[in-house]
């Protein structure tokens, strides 16, 4: 495996690993804030995968210059730019709802939050 291929695939493995770790955290943690943190981790991993999908090793950033001949795909980067901002807004909403729910049930433990069950 060449260094270039190792560079390329290690980025994918990191991103995928982050998504899976975040998913595991969402499934298994009990503190509501801890779940929000795991959700943020998975969000970061998804953003990494999206940017990676438009990435080619050895090309330059998508800023046109007279010395630039080939560049990476700007479209996934533009989408991820908006996705990060939405991610933080959703995390803020998640935290606020979690705080309110924990005040109602008197604990941050999701097993005590009866009104979240269905």
């Amino acid at each position: 495996m060449t260094a270039s291929a190792m560079f390329y695939w290690s980025l994918a493995v990191t991103a995928l690993g982050l998504v899976l770790i975040g998913l595991w955290g969402v499934l298994t943690r009990k503190n509501i804030l801890r779940i929000a943190l795991a959700f943020t981790l998975a969000d970061t991993g998804v953003n990494l995968i999206l940017v990676w999908s438009g990435f080619l090793p050895g090309r330059s950033a998508p800023i046109v210059d007279s010395s630039v001949t080939s560049m990476v795909d700007p479209l996934p980067q533009a989408l991820v730019l908006t996705s990060i901002v939405i991610g933080v807004a959703v995390a803020a909403l998640f935290v606020v709802v979690g705080v309110l729910a924990s005040r109602k049930s008197g604990s941050a433990d999701i097993r005590r939050m009866k009104e979240l069950r269905w």
């Binding site: 290690s10 980025l11 995390a91």
Partner: protein, 81 residues
């Protein structure tokens, strides 16, 4: 390219270890700071993938603002696990 591969593998391993640590560590405040660190490492990876716009955004929003949001939530919930 070898240097880039080493940098990406090193940062990636560090990130995955930190992500697991953030989920299993006892204190909530440590978990929040570790997640901020993971976001900062992610912005390094974005820079390695030639996405400087995304790297700036991730560093300012993911590492700074979302950490503040979680710290606020911890203060209001006020508890360890």
């Amino acid at each position: 390219m070898t240097l880039l591969a080493a940098a990406s593998i090193g940062t990636g391993v560090m990130m995955l270890v930190a992500a697991v640590a953030a989920l299993v560590v006892k204190k909530l405040i440590s978990a929040i700071i570790i997640v901020g660190f993971v976001s900062l490492s992610a912005s390094v990876l974005f820079l390695l993938m030639n996405a400087p716009d995304v790297a700036i955004t991730e560093a300012s929003i993911g590492a700074a603002i979302s950490t503040v949001i979680f710290l606020w939530g911890r203060g209001k919930i006020g508890g360890e696990e």
